[in-house]
């Protein structure tokens, strides 16, 4: 079953001489539970693609279906609700809420959805990610690796259909990067999550089920470790 279908997606910035085609007619689909890595040089359109999949940006043309729903036909408010229920984001710069402690940050998407967080599940998540001791710490009391683990927990908290990670290890050293990726991979497998991750790190491509390569807005599949 395809949890994500991208059809003929194009995105153009500006017009005339300053026109930049960030994405050109990109199509692919991802099945449930897959771990997809997108790689490519800087400025190739990776982040644009991820933003479009996450509904943070609107395409010039093309469609994105998540769980069979065309996200660009939704109204802004519907999309917001859809996003918080079905998509989990992990950013390069962690983007935790500095005023909230670890636990609050993790349950925040649930709270914004006016749902009661499943405490058992959250505790389990924090346990797996090695944050159980840090529950009441604030983000700036944590190391970069720990902060990114909080961001992973936050992305997983709502059990979304799809997790989008934009260079989650970009700010981390190699040991921390490795830990984070391992944990991410483990969680994805354990909770049968679908993950789309942008990375430059060649080493992490071997973790992926499929690897896509973007250059000049054009997407090609490099293949990968098939299940």
């Amino acid at each position: 079953m395809n949890v994500l279908v991208v059809k003929n997606l194009s995105k153009t910035y500006g017009s005339g001489e300053t026109k930049v085609e960030a994405l050109k007619d990109v199509s692919f689909s991802v099945s449930k539970g897959e771990f997809v890595v997108i790689t490519g040089p800087s400025g190739s359109g990776k982040t644009t693609l991820l933003n479009l999949i996450g509904g943070l940006d609107v395409p010039t043309s093309g469609k994105v279906f998540i769980d069979g729903k065309n996200i660009f036909t939704m109204k802004e408010s519907e999309l917001t609700v859809f996003r918080r229920r079905n998509i989990g984001f992990i950013f390069q710069a962690y983007n935790l809420v500095p005023e909230l402690n670890v636990e609050e940050n993790v349950v925040l998407p649930m709270l914004l959805d006016y749902r009661k967080p499943d405490e058992k599940y959250i505790n389990e998540l924090l346990d797996i990610l090695g944050l159980a001791e840090r529950k009441h710490h604030l983000p700036n009391q944590l190391s970069g690796g720990q902060q990114q683990r909080v961001a992973i927990a936050r992305a997983l908290a709502t059990k979304p259909a799809i997790i989008l990670a934009d260079e989650p290890t970009g700010n981390l050293d190699s040991k921390n990067s490795k830990d984070v990726i391992n944990l991410l991979k483990m969680c994805v497998e354990r909770y049968k999550q679908t993950l789309i991750m942008i990375t430059h790190n060649q080493n992490f491509m071997s973790y992926a089920d499929r690897v896509f390569y973007i250059e000049d807005g054009i997407l090609t599949e490099l293949g990968g470790r098939q299940k």
């Binding site: 996450g54 609700v81 984001f89 710069a93 500095p98 909230l100 609050e104 009441h136 604030l138 009391q141």
Partner: protein
């Protein structure tokens, strides 16, 4: 680029929105300070003109002066003008009661005696009198002969040499003022005592000059009188009450300075701190800490140079508005004051406050910014410092997430919370503080109440009751009220007399039961139902109900008693106190049921205090029911005609008092005060509102990225609005509570320490507090509308990309 500092103007023009917000806040603060200080400056100028008009243009009076002293004082270099004045007290002119005096012509204008026709009396048998009196005394003309009789019986014939402009006091009292020449007066009463009235030059230290004169001529304190109000306005008063006002003013103006400071500091702090990252970046590429500091200060300089001229212009424009209003109302008195007043004080205050604050406000954050480690600045988002304590997120468990986060956002950024709420609080404190002056203006200066009579008709023998009916029926008459009054001996517990009164009358004898033997009579007045109703405006305590007063032998005490033209507190009576009034049937016990601040008329003879009661009680007490006063309030149209109609009804035994000129002067006085005091408050309120809006804008602007992230992880538009609103409300409510507490405390301190003599009673400012709350809520809502709209208009990815 020639220098690294040229990055600053580039940065400023690249971030137009933010630059505009910071400039706006500096403009606002400078406008506030300039406006208030210029207004104060101009206000004093206007008041001086007003006081000179009301009390005369002199500084001190040396009483019972000798020729030698006149020589010495008059020849001092610091004396601008001086003249002799002789008070001949009451007398009669052609049999009509009048006030007699003599003055040197060179000083007459200083005392507002302005010649209209003829010349000043110089010969021993010449005199001049007021314009209205010429008519009153059966159409006298210049060069007519009149017969003057003094109190001591001396009678002589004089020739009218001139006519001078009406004085409101004498006209209001119906007693003409007559001026002789000094020589004439001296000859009339040989050996009469003279006063010497002195006006010093501008800039003279009058307190010192006065001391010098006293020492050189060994003049005792009681021989010197001062024009206290004029001295107060030029800052030369030693009067404790005036010093109280000076202190109050100083406190309020310091608060204005602090408010200006906080407004600028707040925006600057937000603007610099949010750019720690940017500064870190500059550090990465090789900027030294010193260079970062220099850049921030350079930025401040550019902003200040752009903002101060605008702020000054706005501040002066506000002052111009006040001047324009006053000149429009009162062109005759204020004609000489220019419409555009360039106030040196205001400009200096505005520029100084602006400059100092911007430098301080940029220096402190700059120091912090320059210390930020380059690596941290580039990699971390954290823009705030949070304590090392762990945090148990209780709030998010009780409240919906967006509300909890809104509160969290505000509460955790302690510095921002402090600055935001204190700038709101200080606005409220300013408002409540200046409110005291509004009340003061209202109760002390606005003596013309709706019922203040235009015309009073008085007869000691009693007025015919048909007269009351007849006058009521005249078409030009608006309101008529009648009063009975008499002077009675009244006594009460001796402890209720104030020390001020005991000083005046000397020793008070008390009886065994704690009562005292009244040294003077008290004024007992009857009020009809209407008058009781009108008087409620001046009620300090208790109530004014005709029924209840009748039922319980009630009486109303009046707190203020006029002694030598100055209102003082002679008694300290409280509700429920027993007052014993001497009646033809012996002493009668009455109960104080209300306390009035003042009555709008004054007694012709000195009294201990004033009591008011109903007509019924009055008649019971005095066994007298003759009406002694009829007060008339005229309609606005055709007043002269009505006045003539009334005069026709009256016979000679009745005194007719035309109080309109005096009332108009009091009203003008009130307007002068009110324009400025209300002006202050309006400026403060407007500027505070602008400040709050601007600060909210800046604060939301600074959080653009943060709000983008929130939207990315699933916050809807409505939740976003709620969160920002809750944050804004947290700031404004913290400020509100702090502001109200401090403001009320300030009010209490001002009133209790400095203004108690004015009988101002502090009341809980309930209405103001509710009003402030409503306005504040409104402003808070308004302040977040436009920044939110801007943020929602931006795409999320657009914001996040700038991470």
């Amino acid at each position: 680029m020639n220098s690294y500092l040229s990055i600053v103007p580039k940065y400023l023009s690249a971030h137009k929105k933010r630059t505009r917000l910071v400039i706006t806040s500096v403009v606002i603060a400078v406008a506030l300070v300039t406006g208030i200080f210029s207004m104060l400056d101009v206000f004093l100028e206007f008041q001086k003109v007003q006081v000179i008009q009301d009390f005369g243009n002199y500084h001190i009076v040396v009483k019972e002066v000798t020729e030698e002293e006149i020589q010495i004082i008059g020849s001092r270099v610091d004396v601008q003008n001086a003249g002799r004045w002789i008070d001949l007290e009451e007398g009669t002119i052609n049999g009509v009661k009048c006030l007699l005096g003599a003055i040197d012509p060179n000083f007459a204008e200083n005392m507002n005696i302005k010649l209209i026709k003829g010349k000043y009396p110089t010969e021993k048998n010449e005199l001049m009198l007021e314009n209205w009196a010429m008519e009153k005394l059966k159409g006298l003309k210049i060069k007519d002969k009149v017969k003057i009789a003094l109190k001591n019986g001396i009678t002589r014939e004089f020739v009218i040499s001139g006519v001078y402009k009406d004085l409101s006091n004498t006209k209001g009292a119906g007693v003409p003022g007559i001026l002789l020449s000094i020589n004439g007066a001296k000859e009339l009463v040989p050996g009469i005592k003279m006063d010497y009235v002195v006006l010093f030059k501008d800039g003279v230290n009058i307190i010192k000059a006065e001391a010098e004169i006293k020492e050189a001529l060994s003049i005792k304190d009681d021989r010197i009188a001062r024009n206290e109000r004029l001295l107060a306005l030029i800052g030369q008063s030693t009067n404790s009450f005036v010093i109280g006002i000076y202190i109050t003013g100083c406190i309020l103006f310091c608060i204005v300075l602090i408010a200006g400071f906080l407004m600028i500091y707040n925006t600057f702090n937000i603007s610099v701190m949010e750019r720690v990252r940017q500064f870190g970046l500059l550090r990465c590429i090789g900027a030294s800490q010193k260079q970062i500091k220099k850049m921030v200060i350079q930025e401040g300089l550019i902003i200040v140079l752009r903002a101060i001229p605008i702020g000054l212009t706005i501040g002066m424009f506000i002052t111009f508005l006040c001047c324009a209003v006053l000149k429009f109302y009162n062109s005759s008195i204020f004609g000489e004051i220019p419409l555009f007043n360039i106030s040196f004080l205001g400009i200096v205050a505005g520029v100084l406050d602006g400059f100092l604050t911007v430098f301080l406000a940029s220096y402190v954050p700059a120091k912090k910014a320059s210390k930020a480690s380059p690596v941290n600045a580039v990699t971390e988002i954290s823009e705030i410092r949070i304590s090392k304590n762990k945090k148990h997120g209780y709030l998010t468990k009780i409240l919906p997430a967006e509300i909890a986060m809104g509160i969290n956002n505000a509460v955790l950024k302690k510095k921002t919370l402090f600055l935001m709420s204190s700038s709101i609080a200080i606005s409220i404190v300013m408002f409540l503080g200046f409110q005291v002056f509004i009340d003061f203006v209202h109760s002390s200066l606005k003596t013309t109440k709706p019922y203040t009579p235009d015309i009073s008709i008085v007869s000691e023998q009693g007025l015919d009751s048909s007269l009351y009916e007849n006058i009521s029926e005249l078409s030009g008459v608006n309101k008529v009220s009648r009063r009975m009054f008499s002077y009675v001996y009244a006594t009460f517990d001796a402890s209720r007399l104030t020390p001020a009164y005991k000083d005046i009358v000397g020793k008070i004898e008390t009886t065994e039961n704690g009562l005292f033997i009244p040294p003077e009579k008290s004024w007992l007045i009857s009020y009809d139902k209407n008058q009781l109703q009108w008087a409620k405006e001046d009620l300090i305590k208790g109530e004014l109900s005709e029924e209840k007063l009748n039922k319980h032998n009630g009486i109303v005490a009046v707190a203020e008693t006029l002694r030598n033209g100055i209102g003082i507190k002679t008694t300290n009576l409280q509700l429920g106190d027993k007052v014993y009034i001497q009646t033809p049937d012996g002493a009668k016990e009455m109960t104080v049921m209300g306390i009035l601040r003042t009555v709008p008329f004054s007694s012709s003879e000195p009294t201990m205090t004033t009591f008011i009661t109903t007509e019924k009680m009055y008649t019971q007490l005095t066994r007298d029911s003759t009406i002694k006063v009829i007060d008339i309030k005229l309609k606005n149209q055709g007043q002269e005609k009505t006045v003539n109609e009334i005069k026709e009804i009256l016979d000679d035994s009745v005194s007719f008092y035309d109080l309109r000129q005096k009332n108009a002067e009091i009203n003008r006085h009130f307007i002068t005060m009110a324009v400025f005091v209300y002006g202050f408050v309006v400026v403060i309120a407007l500027i505070s509102a602008l400040n709050i809006i601007n600060t909210m804008n800046t604060s939301v602007e600074a959080k653009t990225r943060y709000l983008g992230v929130m939207r990315a992880i699933g916050m809807t538009g409505v939740q976003l609005e709620k969160m920002v609103l809750v944050e804004a409300l947290t700031y404004s409510m913290t400020g509100y509570i702090a502001g109200c507490i401090m403001g009320i405390a300030l009010q209490k301190i001002i009133i209790h320490n400095f203004l108690t003599k004015l009988l101002d009673i502090w009341k809980f400012p309930f209405i103001q507090i509710v009003l402030i709350l409503i306005v504040l809520l409104l402003i808070t809502f308004i302040s977040i509308i436009s920044p939110l709209r801007r943020i929602k208009a931006k795409g999320i990815s657009e914001i996040i990309r700038t991470l």
